[in-house]
């Protein structure tokens, strides 16, 4: 594959990672807005918990981003090998999610969580070898 081909594949991987991260952050933000499902279920039952999720706009934005990420993955797979695209996008998503969770969701991403994200990211890389 020539340089422009490589650049195109990595651009597509970048799009997948961005959309997957946006989807994860929007879903996590939506669920945090809704609250603990166990508490909701104890007050208004399973129907109440499902309704709380289905009435949240941020949840559907998250699902839309996840769906777009999935279709971007399918598109990328028509251009490049699955052994590159799938692990590369999964591993990079771990890292971008850690940054997004720290800066957007204001999570406490301490040393332990950074080490875990890096270990899992490296592990996914080696699984693709």
């Amino acid at each position: 594959m020539n340089l422009s081909g490589d650049a195109a594949v990595w651009s597509m991987i970048g799009v997948i990672v961005l959309l997957a991260t946006a989807g994860d952050v929007l879903l996590a933000g939506a669920i945090r807005q809704i609250g603990d499902f166990d508490v909701i279920r104890s007050h208004s039952g399973l129907k109440g918990a499902i309704l709380a999720v289905l009435c949240n706009v941020r949840f559907f934005s998250g699902v839309a981003c996840m769906a777009l990420s999935f279709f971007s993955l399918l598109f990328a797979l028509s251009w490049a090998e699955v052994s590159l695209v799938a692990p590369a996008s999964a591993a990079l998503t771990f890292v971008t999610n850690a940054f997004a969770a720290k800066w957007i969701l204001k999570e406490n991403v301490d040393g332990r969580r950074w080490i875990a994200a890096v270990c899992v990211c490296a592990g996914v890389f080696f699984l693709s070898r």
Binding site: E107, C119, A122, V124, L127
Partner: protein, 154 residues
């Protein structure tokens, strides 16, 4: 972390990994799908392995949302990364694929990462930016919630 919450994390891992493996087995039976005949993907839905895979992926999504309701994203994602290990083990012992030494090393790294994150707090509260040092654990948050309920009832 209660035992029930570990079960939810387990459902996330098993739902994703078994779902993906079932989809993979089903799509092998269906055969390659051409970009010019994308409608044949609909026919793939008739395959029992593909259908079972979708059911497991629905279980994964429901468990994933449940886990996010009481844990941080940076806790849930690495903790459920063990699903990749389950996929590798299913590939080896069920689909009879070969696992190279590099892959075994990857499995070890993921297991170490999961061990790291699950020994820490699952949830941290941040009412204002820069409150990392005031982060509280799930058990602290539960106590605060219980205290709040008592205050309201009084």
């Amino acid at each position: 972390m209660t035992f029930r919450r570990y079960l939810v994390l387990g459902a996330v891992m098993i739902g994703a990994s078994v779902g993906d493996t079932f989809l993979s087995k089903g799509m092998r039976q269906v055969g390659p799908v051409s970009l010019h005949h994308l409608l044949s993907l609909v026919i793939a839905l008739k395959n029992p392995w593909v259908l079972s895979g979708i059911v497991f992926l629905i279980v994964f999504f429901a468990s994933y949302l449940t886990a996010l309701s009481w844990a941080d994203l940076t806790f849930v994602l690495p903790a459920t990364g063990f699903g990749y290990v389950i996929i590798e083990l299913l590939s080896k012992f069920w689909l009879h694929e070969t696992i190279s030494p590099a892959r075994w090393f990857g499995i070890v790294l993921i297991t170490v990462g999961v061990g790291f994150v699950t020994h820490g707090p699952s949830y941290t509260n941040h009412d204002h930016p820069g409150a990392e040092s005031e982060a509280v654990t799930t058990s602290d948050a539960e106590e605060l919630t219980a205290a709040g309920r008592e205050d309201r009832s009084a």
